[in-house]
């Protein structure tokens, strides 16, 4: 279709020369439908492979894998102190060994693997993993680190095979593999007991599955095709079960799948039933399987952690009652006037009704009332009668049991103030009324009165009493007619990021955030009962925990008053503006500095821009009628250029918008996609160079990447002695190596 004069034009620009061979290709394969053509190409490639069987495909991955294990494992046990977030993840691993329930914002898979490594290392879970502590001799931390580093090392062959699946030239394949291998930040972060190596590993496997599945697109419904679909699903499930960041690579695969289905939908040769099977296969493979994997992880999490531990208060009261060693089950059943109780919000992720001496900065200025997720004596409330009833007399043996529709007062045990609400807008949810603690035993008014409305009781239809754990009730303010509610809205720093508690005007009986139950209960006058026989369903616990994780994640926002030297901002990552000191900078400890290979970072970031420019140029030239690219070229750009670019954007842009604290390692998954874009550009443009020139270009790039990696290797292998020895690595002032 290219008219001669346009072709001349192209030659005149000089660009045409390089494209000559390419440009001729369509002429050589005349009028073959696209599908067949690709298959021909495929078979040609395979045949070629068999004809001159190159040992590269065996030797290269072996060599790379060996080097990967070397760079990740060499001197791995050198530093015997708890480094950086090992303090968290090592501790979480210990909880699995001790089977104590804990709470964390990340899904459990990565931490269960840490636990597994501890189990294999013969560790009993007794070490506290305090940041900066020395490992005691009984903790085989070297083995635990090796276990983690294995995931990091395996990323290298995965990158190699991914490039092979994309049918890149040897030069480009080696380049990408080398860049992953010689990436200091990957090498460093893989050496510790952290989740990042696992996250990277599963991101890499997902990309491999993606590339492989794309290659199989013309062999739908073969066993191989099904196998890789299921593998993709498993991989996605795993990556999402390590950190929620995995959702971004999931989105990438989802986008590809949507586009693929859309193309199939437009292919009139595919009958509708076949289309339907395509759709069902993807729903099962890419939605149901990952969900099942994700839920299975939580199932294992709940099964392993069957003892009471530090994270109890995040969960519903019933869940806690089923943990071994909890004190909840050992409480009186019926709640009486004078009982000391903690009151739990029954919404997903609900906390315990809490108050503390700090006051509201606006509004009434009275004492704050919040919901809090940790056990604390400020969660305790006394149930008192309203002032117009007979006063509670602790010495008298009489017992009064408040029930449905009865009016009570709640007195905060630590400050003696009454739970109170008034017609002042709440601090965040302005449409609701503020809830505060006010007055004391004697000072107060009728705005301290709350009417109990029983919603349900899981063991009885008798609503005349409130029972520990089993009775769900609402508290209605007698004067304003509003209902006590805590809806997972975090207060600002002045409220310590606890959950805002308000009085909501609308009467919505189904709103579980207005439902409360008594969790702990103390009353010496009453006999103790065992109520642990009521189980909370798994699905409910699962949702509850996930909502709680989301709420806590949202609360991890930077504190503007706190100088956080470790945190960094999104714009600093691609330009390698800062690094991160992973441990204290004492002369006599082994120091690790988390910093990428500058060539890789700057090169990949530049390649992103270059990709955009090249794309724009091609697009404008296409609109001007210049046929620079063949159909295969366009497919190559589309699937092996654009998808990695989108993957990079998916893994990067959310961090720009995210309010939470961010660190350099949040860029690592995105970096892999940037490396792929870099490799794509090399692959695409070096193909056009004469073979020798191409190899020279590749050779120089390899040398620079490897050279800089070796130059910076002390920051990954650990720097011994005074940091000033390594001042030569401090290329900019922001890299606080020395």
């Amino acid at each position: 279709m290219a008219t001669p004069n346009i072709r001349d034009q192209a030659y005149a620009t000089g660009a045409g020369f390089q494209n000559e061979g390419l440009r001729e290709r369509p002429v050589g394969v005349p009028v073959v439908p696209a599908a067949n053509k690709v298959e021909i190409d495929d078979s040609k490639l395979k045949r070629k492979g068999k004809d001159e069987f190159d040992y590269e495909s065996i030797i290269a991955p072996l060599l790379f894998t060996f080097l990967a294990f070397f760079t990740r494992l060499y001197k791995i046990g050198q530093s015997n102190i708890v480094t950086w977030d090992e303090a968290h993840f090592g501790k979480f691993g210990s909880h699995y060994l001790k089977r104590e329930f804990y709470f964390d914002v990340h899904p459990p898979l990565g931490k269960m693997l840490v636990g597994l490594s501890g189990l294999l290392a013969g560790y009993n879970g007794s070490f506290e993993f305090k940041s900066g502590d020395t490992y005691p001799p009984e903790v085989n931390y070297t083995f635990m680190r090796i276990f983690n580093a294995t995931f990091g090392a395996l990323c290298v062959p995965l990158a190699y095979y991914t490039c092979k699946e994309m049918r890149w030239t040897k030069g480009a394949t080696w380049l990408v593999t080398l860049m992953v291998l010689c990436e200091n930040s990957y090498a460093t972060i893989s050496r510790f007991i952290l989740l990042d190596s696992m996250l990277l590993f599963f991101t890499f496997t997902t990309m491999l599955c993606f590339a492989r599945f794309h290659n199989l697109r013309r062999e739908s419904f073969t066993p191989q095709w099904y196998a890789w679909l299921v593998l993709s699903g498993l991989s996605i499930g795993c990556v999402c079960s390590v950190k929620w960041v995995g959702l971004f690579v999931t989105a990438l695969v989802g986008l590809y799948t949507a586009e693929d289905l859309w193309n199939k939908f437009g292919d009139l040769s595919i009958p509708i039933p076949t289309l339907f099977i395509h759709l069902v296969a993807r729903v099962v493979g890419l939605i149901l399987i990952p969900t099942a994997v994700y839920m299975a992880n939580f199932y294992a999490h709940f099964t392993i952690l069957n003892h009471s531990g530090p994270g109890d208060a995040q969960m519903s009261s019933l869940f806690q009652a089923n943990l071994k060693g909890t004190d909840l089950t050992d409480a009186p059943l019926d709640v009486a006037i004078g009982s000391r109780v903690t009151i739990k919000n029954m919404g997903y992720g609900g906390g315990l009704l809490h108050s503390h001496i700090q006051t509201y900065p606006d509004g009434s200025g009275q004492q704050q009332v919040t919901c809090y997720h940790h056990k604390d004596s400020n969660n305790d409330w006394f149930i008192y009668p309203p002032r117009n009833h007979a006063d509670y007399d602790p010495t008298s043996p009489d017992l009064r049991f408040p029930g449905n529709k009865d009016v009570i007062r709640l007195i905060h045990s630590q400050t003696g103030r009454n739970l109170h609400s008034h017609a002042i807008p709440a601090p965040i949810t302005k449409a609701d009324w503020e809830v505060s603690s006010y007055g004391n035993l004697t000072v107060g008014d009728e705005k301290d009165y709350w009417q109990i409305e029983v919603v349900r009781d899981s063991i009885s239809n008798d609503y005349s009493k409130i029972r520990t754990l089993t009775t769900a009730f609402r508290l209605k303010h007698t004067v304003l007619g509003c209902y006590l509610r805590a809806g997972n809205v975090n207060l600002p720093q002045w409220g310590f990021k606890q959950i805002e508690t308000t009085c909501v005007k609308e009467n919505k009986p189904k709103d579980t955030y207005t439902h409360w139950n008594v969790e702990s209960h103390w009353n010496d006058k009453l006999p103790k009962a065992d109520v642990s026989s009521f189980k909370s369903p798994f699905l409910w616990d699962f949702l509850h925990l996930n909502v709680a994780m989301m709420t806590s994640n949202n609360a991890l926002v930077p504190d503007p008053d706190k100088q956080d030297d470790l945190a960094s901002l999104w714009w600093q990552w691609p330009i390698l503006h800062v690094g991160l000191r992973m441990c204290s900078w004492d002369d006599n400890i082994v120091k690790y500095f988390l910093l990428g290979n500058p060539v890789v970072y700057w090169g990949t970031t530049a390649s992103l821009g270059l990709f955009g420019v090249a794309f724009l140029v091609y697009l404008l030239r296409w609109q001007r009628g210049c046929k620079d690219l063949t159909k295969e070229d366009i497919d190559e750009w589309h699937y092996h250029g654009f998808y990695p670019l989108i993957g990079w954007a998916f893994h990067y842009i959310p961090f720009i918008m995210m309010g939470r604290v961010t660190y350099v390692h949040h860029y690592y998954p995105a970096l892999y996609f940037a490396i792929l874009v870099f490799g794509f550009l090399f692959n695409f443009f070096c193909k056009k160079l004469p073979t020798k020139v191409g190899w020279i270009v590749y050779g120089i790039t390899y040398a620079v990447v490897i050279g800089v990696f070796i130059l910076f290797i002390p920051i990954s292998f650990g720097m011994k002695g005074p940091a000033s020895q390594y001042a030569y690595l401090k290329w900019t002032n922001r890299w606080r190596i020395a």
Partner: protein
């Protein structure tokens, strides 16, 4: 190819027949030149007459609805508090600060100036009476009402210019004409009327510009290009949501340019560059300079110091006349006696011989040191001598100015003790440090470090001198890094109900700011008393503009506090919640800002229908089934696509915004959704293209009236009739809440209470 829809006939009226295919204003397909239509003049003009008559009728109705009882209520309503106040500031020429650009506010000031109002009333509170204060509020309100009336006309003309049939034009117009939200928001002293009018004008101007695309670089082509640019500039000079209008027009321009670039169009690259540059000039350069122009006017008008001074740098403030700073700022020297005042609560730093009680009510203990409090009145106990950490040699100790970041000590004159803070909890705040004083001897001795404070001047540069009045500063306790702070809750009787002073760990808090008010020790003949008042300084426009622009963005982002009537973007198209503007208890009257539910729900559901049609078309096309003819599809994607883009770009970005949002932010998007609705009515109810004269050329000679009665339009007219009746009914039903009169009984209020409408007087 088709031609001669009603629009063309309008062209005929102007006796400049335009060749080509302007009945599809945003059609971007490549097409062969269309033969010029042959039309009888009578048919053209009679159709034009029908359109013109409809336009006039709509305008009159719009005028009536906008001006109906415009003098009611005669009190300050809702945000009139702000925008009325700003007009007064302009008239008084006192500097103020606001997050919105100046254009619309200058318009109000212009109205005030025209009628000779002096701006004495400051619109302090909602409910303040206008007649009692002698404010010409009707004139003020007439401006938005007029612009809103014209908005209705512009909507009609936009539809007309885009080539829609009369019922379609009228349907779109009715949705805006009888919309309670548009009326309610635009008959008060608010900016939205200007915003919406400018936005509608930029759509109209762009459609007209686009219709001249067959004569690029002609006089008219340039005219409408520049008009589009100026209209765009007015939008963004009113509020920054005008950026969304740029996105809308920019999107359409990008598509247009992309098609021009197509080599099949035969444009050379030079031609294309000319197109590109022309649009850049018309739609970016001209609007930008126009936008800057308003800032120049703003600075020129506001020449006197006023409430906005505090937002600006000292350098900027010195450009304003009557500025306290410029007049009285004096350098503070060491060994001066000074008084320190808290900026927010206006309390002086005070001390007296009484001591903190050993034990507070809640059982915590104090240091029992001398009380340091905040006291609002003049008193010798407010006097403090500012001295260096280590005394200067006696002979050279005078006339050394205190500078930013200097460490100083403050000596209380009456008791001769030195201010100190330490790690003891303050009376009210267990988290904050107590402030007290110690004797001079202790201050020289072991407590020396605890008596050191750093003067940290707000936005201070380097080692600048510390001055009275001008230099707002924070007093940071040197060893513990807490800031001296006070609040309004009075101390108990032991503290004589004076204010508590304590050390706030949150240094960044803006309420930590103090200033030195006077230097009582200054003698009459001190040279500092005899400095001639400074002249008003000159700062170049660019510097002032950039500083103001930065401050505006900064404060706009800081508008995150919540408001009882703020709403979420998701609630707007469904009209789930309104805003209470004004209430009057004795007459049970209220203004509750709310759209016309019938109109809004119709418009929103038709947006969904539009998306559905596009999706259905894409799906069927994908399977090789083509249900639409080329012209209809072009209309669906280009003209309606433009309106839909306008809606989306004026609505969706709000989801990304963190600041507080209100229902009135949806008004621009609602106008766009009305355009989509009108266009869809034609699409759905006209079974054939409106002008089938290409198919049957002989019909061309029929009079226009006959054509309009042709069967294809009957459906559309019926739809128009039904919609108008329903919309009017909805408008009439909610009119008492829009106009604020008459008052409603409980049942009447309850009948109008849908969704989350928090109406007053419902009990």
């Amino acid at each position: 190819m088709v031609d001669t829809p009603p629009v063309r006939q309008r062209v005929g009226r102007k006796k400049t027949p335009v060749p080509g295919s302007d009945e599809e204003p945003l059609l971007d397909v490549v097409k062969a030149p269309v033969p010029k239509p042959k039309k009888t003049v009578s048919a053209k003009s009679s159709s034009t007459a029908v359109y013109s008559a409809a336009l006039v009728a709509c305008t009159i109705l719009a005028f009536v609805t906008r001006f109906w009882k415009i003098n009611h209520p005669n009190e300050v309503v809702f945000d009139e508090v702000h925008f009325g106040k700003f007009a007064s500031y302009y008239l008084q020429r006192t500097y103020f600060f606001d997050v919105h650009p100046p254009f619309a506010k200058l318009l109000f000031a212009f109205v005030g100036w025209l009628i000779g109002y002096d701006g004495h009333f400051l619109f302090e509170n909602i409910g303040d009476s206008y007649p009692a204060n002698n404010v010409p509020y009707v004139a003020f309100r007439a401006l938005p009402a007029i612009l809103s009336t014209l908005t209705v006309s512009v909507v009609f003309m936009t539809m007309w210019e885009s080539g829609y049939t009369l019922p379609a034009c009228l349907t779109a117009t009715m949705l805006v004409l009888f919309d309670n939200a548009h009326i309610g928001q635009t008959r008060l002293i608010l900016l939205d009327s200007t915003l919406i009018f400018s936005m509608a004008c930029s759509f109209l101007a762009y459609v007209r510009f686009y219709k001249h695309r067959d004569q690029p670089f002609s006089r008219k082509w340039w005219k409408w290009l520049v008009v589009t640019g100026i209209a765009l500039s007015c939008v963004i000079s009113t509020k920054y949501v005008g950026l969304f209008t740029f996105v809308t027009i920019g999107g359409a321009v990008a598509v247009d340019l992309w098609n021009l670039l197509d080599y099949k169009r035969g444009l050379t690259l030079q031609d294309f560059a000319k197109h590109f540059v022309a649009r850049f000039i018309g739609l970016i350069a001209v609007p930008f300079f126009f936008y800057l122009f308003w800032f120049q006017v703003h600075f020129a008008v506001l020449s006197r110091s006023g409430p906005g001074d505090d937002f600006m740098s000292p350098e900027f403030q010195e450009t304003l006349s009557d500025n306290v700073m410029a007049m009285t700022a004096k350098t503070v020297n060491y060994y001066d006696t000074i008084t320190l005042r808290h900026k927010e609560t206006k309390a002086y730093l005070h001390s007296h011989p009484d001591r903190y009680p050993l034990r507070y009510e809640d059982g915590r203990v104090s240091s029992q040191g001398q009380q340091v409090t905040g006291y609002p009145y003049n008193d010798t106990n407010n006097h403090w001598i500012i001295i260096p950490p280590v005394d200067f040699p006696e002979e050279t100790k005078l006339n050394i100015p205190v500078r930013n970041h200097d460490r100083v000590r403050l000596v209380h004159v009456v008791t001769d003790t030195v201010l100190l803070s330490h790690d003891v909890a303050s009376p009210y705040f267990p988290t904050n440090q107590e402030f007290t004083t110690v004797s001079r001897a202790e201050s020289e001795g072991k407590r020396h470090n605890d008596t050191l404070f750093e003067i940290r001047i707000e936005q201070g540069k380097g080692k600048q001198e510390f001055k009275t009045m001008a230099g707002l500063f924070k007093l940071i306790h040197n060893p513990s890094k807490v800031a001296m702070w006070t609040h309004t809750k009075p101390l108990p009787d032991w503290g004589f109900k004076q204010q508590e002073i304590n050390g706030n760990k949150n240094i960044a808090q803006s309420s930590n700011v103090w200033f030195a008010e006077t230097i009582p020790s200054l003698t009459e003949d001190d040279p500092r008393n005899h400095v001639a008042p400074k002249k008003v300084k000159y700062v170049p426009f660019w510097k002032k503009y950039i500083e103001l622009q930065k401050a505006m963005f900064h404060h706009n982002n800081a508008l995150t506090s919540s408001h009882p009537y703020a709403s979420q973007p998701i609630q707007w198209p469904f009209l789930l919640r309104g805003v209470s503007f004004w209430t009057k208890n004795d007459t049970r009257e209220q203004i509750y800002f709310l759209g016309n539910p019938v109109g809004w729900w119709l418009a929103s559901s038709l947006l969904a229908v539009y998306v559905g049609i596009i999706a259905a078309d894409q799906l069927t096309l994908r399977r090789g089934v083509d249900t639409l003819d080329k012209r209809t599809r072009s209309r669906l994607y280009n003209s309606m696509g433009f309106f839909f883009l306008a809606w989306a770009s004026h609505y969706l970005p709000f989801y990304l915004m963190g600041r507080q949002l209100f229902l009135h932010h949806y008004l621009p998007a609602h106008l766009a959704s009305a355009l989509v609705t009108g266009a869809l009515v034609e699409f759905i109810f006209c079974l054939e293209p409106a002008d089938e004269d290409t198919v049957a050329t002989e019909k061309k000679d029929l009079p226009a009236t006959v054509k309009q009665q042709s069967p294809s339009l009957v459906g559309a007219w019926i739809a128009f009739g039904v919609i108008t009746v329903a919309v009017f009914a909805g408008f009439y039903f909610y009119a008492p809440l829009t106009y604020g009169t008459p008052g409603l009984t409980v049942e009447q209020v309850l009948r109008r209470k849908l969704g989350l409408y928090d109406l007053h007087f419902a009990k």
